[in-house]
Subunit: 529 residues, 2 copies
């Protein structure tokens, strides 16, 4: 049995922790042989100090240095793709193809390269210069960033390679990755590659570090530590809110992605025009990857009527016919089953599924539940319990007024989808519902399921609480996701040679956008006349 070390200050070192955990193969429900340490506080403090030293060293490096690291890392990952796919499949049960190999890994290296581009360009930092007062400001590296990766994306959101990691590095910050306990070996392998890339591109020791787990108390101390600049967290609402409280108490920026059930409205005209196609789209979106996506459509809202009944009938058929895969782990199975029980306890009826099992290892039947609009309005909070996985709740409302009232009861979500008739028959209802949905979601979709998060500048993978902790930020999309990890630093009357390069008169790249005397420009500061 191998006991894995932690990555501290540029070295793989045996942990000083005395407690360990194993990963589990979710398909066999058997523990994998290797064990990983739970880091004690003294070790976390060492990590923080090493990260702080690294931050001091790189603070004024040009963006190109971080870009080189990110690009080298991406290339090295591609060279190790086979191992990464094999390990992640073993630990998570996610399909090798297309999911891990063809979708998530390319997305992850693409993110690293987009982050590199943002770092090299430097415009994300919004350099701003006022010549009359000689005041200049920029979003500078915020300090070491702790990134807590979730269970459901072993690559794209992983603490040592995912979107928060890439964004934090692009902003010029060292990262302390907190691996997820369901895929420690995948995370370890990324950290191994990251360290090689860091050495190859001459990043300082402590620029990328990895710990696997902490006690709950130490987690709270960690996210509120003075040496930490910010936190990125993707995971459960319960653990996330505990960390949020600890960080908020000391004004430490913490960016969270917590929970989202992603309401989908199928308005009557759309159902009349293309109900069968919608049943197919919805079933595919809801069951893909066993429904283990942050943007999984967990709530369908419709008006009562024969087309709605037909949609439901077709969907139940599809849910029954679709194969049941493997969930990420025992905790996911338990939370999903508990979630379904909570929905039933508050008046939802099972249309199909509802029991654990049905697939290899940890699994749960494809589950569809139904509830009346009246019932939803009565217990909005309980009926928005996230049943994370291959499950969804249909809300059937008797009238537009009831649909509107149910909508008013929605919590914050990452996404909200509205399907309407091509003919315009749903436009009045859209006009009634959309303004309410709009304020409750980060991304509003038309005629499209919410799964599938394009990594483009305009993406918002964010939304009001409890989807995230602040509705002004996105976790996906460059350069916008980078600014979360910048601290606004103003220089007032500071001598030219002491200014960061991006604030000196000469444009350091020749192409960085800066706001000079109120105007966006890529030029140098004009010479005084």
């Amino acid at each position: 049995m191998t006991t894995h070390p932690v990555l501290i200050d540029g070295q793989w070192r045996p942990s000083t922790g005395k407690k360990f955990f194993h990963a589990v193969n979710p398909k066999t429900m058997e523990a994998l042989p290797d064990q990983y340490p739970i880091s004690p506080w003294s070790e976390i403090e060492e990590v923080l100090q090493a990260a702080s030293r690294a931050a001091d060293i790189v603070r004024h490096w040009p963006g190109s240095r971080f870009a080189e690291f990110l690009e080298t890392y991406a290339t090295m990952i591609e060279e190790r793709a086979e191992s990464l796919v094999a390990i992640a499949h073993l630990e998570t049960g996610l399909a090798v193809q297309p999911r891990l190999k063809d979708v998530e890994l390319p997305r992850t290296t693409n993110q690293l390269r987009q982050a590199a581009k943002a770092a090299r360009d430097g415009s994300w930092a919004e350099p701003t210069i006022d010549t009359a007062t000689n005041i200049r400001s920029i979003l500078a590296p915020i300090g070491p960033v702790a990134v807590f990766g979730p269970n459901n994306f072993p690559y794209a959101y992983n603490g040592v390679v995912g979107g928060d990691f890439a964004s934090a590095v692009a902003a010029g910050n060292p990262v302390i990755g907190k691996g997820h306990s369901l895929h420690p070996e995948t995370t370890r392998l990324f950290a191994e590659i990251a360290l090689k890339a860091a050495v190859a591109t001459k990043m300082p020791n402590g620029f990328v570090q990895l710990i696997y787990r902490t006690s709950h108390d130490d987690g709270e101390k960690f996210v509120s530590h003075p040496l930490l600049g910010a936190v990125g967290y993707t995971g459960s609402r319960s653990a996330g809110t505990v960390l949020k409280t600890a960080a908020d108490r000391v004004g430490k920026p913490i960016y969270l992605e917590l929970s989202s059930i992603n309401p989908v409205y199928l308005l009557p005209g759309a159902l009349a025009e293309r109900g069968a196609a919608l049943a197919e789209q919805f079933s595919t979106s809801c069951l893909m990857g066993m429904g283990q996506f942050c943007t999984n459509p967990g709530l369908i809202l419709m008006l009562a009527g024969p087309n709605t009944e037909e949609f439901i009938r077709l969907t139940v058929e599809r849910f029954r016919a679709a194969p049941v895969g493997t969930l990420l782990g025992e905790s996911v199975q338990k939370n999903l089953h508990d979630g379904i029980k909570t929905l039933v306890a508050h008046g939802a009826t099972l249309l199909t599924g509802g029991s654990t099992g049905g697939g290899a290892g940890y699994s749960c039947q494809n589950t569809l539940l139904r509830v009346t609009g009246k019932q939803f309005i009565k217990s909005p909070e309980a009926l928005q319990t996230e049943a994370f996985g291959n499950s969804s709740l249909v809300v059937v409302c008797e009238s537009a007024e009831e649909l509107l009232a149910a909508t008013h009861g929605l919590e914050g979500n990452l996404t909200g989808s509205l399907y309407t008739a091509e003919s315009g028959a749903d436009d009045a209802l859209y006009a009634l519902i959309e303004p309410v949905v709009r304020q409750k979601v980060g991304r509003l979709l038309n005629d499209k399921m919410p799964t599938g998060v394009a990594v483009v500048a305009s993406m918002n993978h964010g939304g009001p609480f409890p989807a995230t902790g602040h509705p002004g930020f996105t976790a996906v999309g460059f350069p916008s996701s980078v600014r979360r990890f910048g601290m606004l630093q103003c220089y007032d009357n500071v001598r030219m040679a002491r200014l960061p390069a991006a604030l000196q008169d000469k444009n350091p790249t020749g192409s960085t956008w800066r706001r000079i005397d109120g105007n966006l420009t890529q030029s140098d500061v004009p010479a005084k006349t």
Copy 2:
């Protein structure tokens, strides 16, 4: 005796509250005749509902509508300048000239006009369009904003006219102003003018509202209410952190400006070159307006030596010679005196002053304290107690190492100033100290006192906690301060006619900067070929 109404939903209405308070003339320490209500919860809820209705109405209005309101308001304020100055002088004791009439009121109308410009331009909202995926996003109005104004700026930070107000409106949000109890009549008069401007520019009822005071419990309910979009708060650290906790718990964005002692480093070469001039600069900055500025220099750090002693001697002389004015109120006098006592209790020595009185009404002697670097390092928290007013603490360190250690003990501040020799004699010490100071302050100054906050795009009136609640934002400077009140809203595959104007293919103003397919441009989306 007049009992003043509150401004709710476009109407001045008698409050339903049963409790009232009076303003006090700080120069006479006598209560002014009028009384103002403490609003009960039912009234606050009405205010929230009216603001929410107003938000629904204006959500998609072009920025020019908000600009017209802001500009009309600024003009109407100038027409009432005389009354505003007279009332604010009576309530706050601040000098009519230059302070209120020549400095703060022009700054305030200037802020409104700069906010108007940002609103009209629309670039602050960072419209972003990706044509290949047809995903588009923008910072949209976050919802009604509650603005809590502080005691020390009756105009420029006032809840119904100051910087947070202007920023929230420029972002397209209704504002609920919470007046400060030390200047209710000033605030009432602004609200009266704001209502006239709102009517003249056809803003909806409930776009600007005013309440004066709430119970502590209701304050917490208010800032965490589902109908509220965000909060801007400038005031004491104790009340601010209570509101922060309440808002954070439900993920409500709250932007705070809490406390700051604004360390000033006078390095040995600078003292040798121009010690007497520095004593004059520092005394002027520290005593101006009785030191009641967020950026007042409350902590001076120096190395021991004859020039340091001479600086202290000259400063004591100036502090003794300078007239003592009037503090804003009894609470300010009490907090200042308590702060001085705390500093003394933790090892600081009084060089001059220290007692209440010495001026008309509420006042305190100009106070200078001194402490050793060793003592400061031993009790950094207590010795950073904010003694808000005409008081400052000198820290004399024995060595560069001690100065560095003291610097490591600093909390987050709005500003940090470093004075160095023109000759370059202090450059090594600057290089040692600056990186540590830089991460702890929002604005770093060279050879300049921190008082005086220019309203320019590059200004950062912000900084790490406890100066503010998040180091990525500024409360002063357009357009940057506006983005605090935007919520990131993404539109995925949404039909063109349903998009906000700024995200449609045509650039709505012809000059708004948008990021289209990765490039910043003022052009329309190119027609498909």
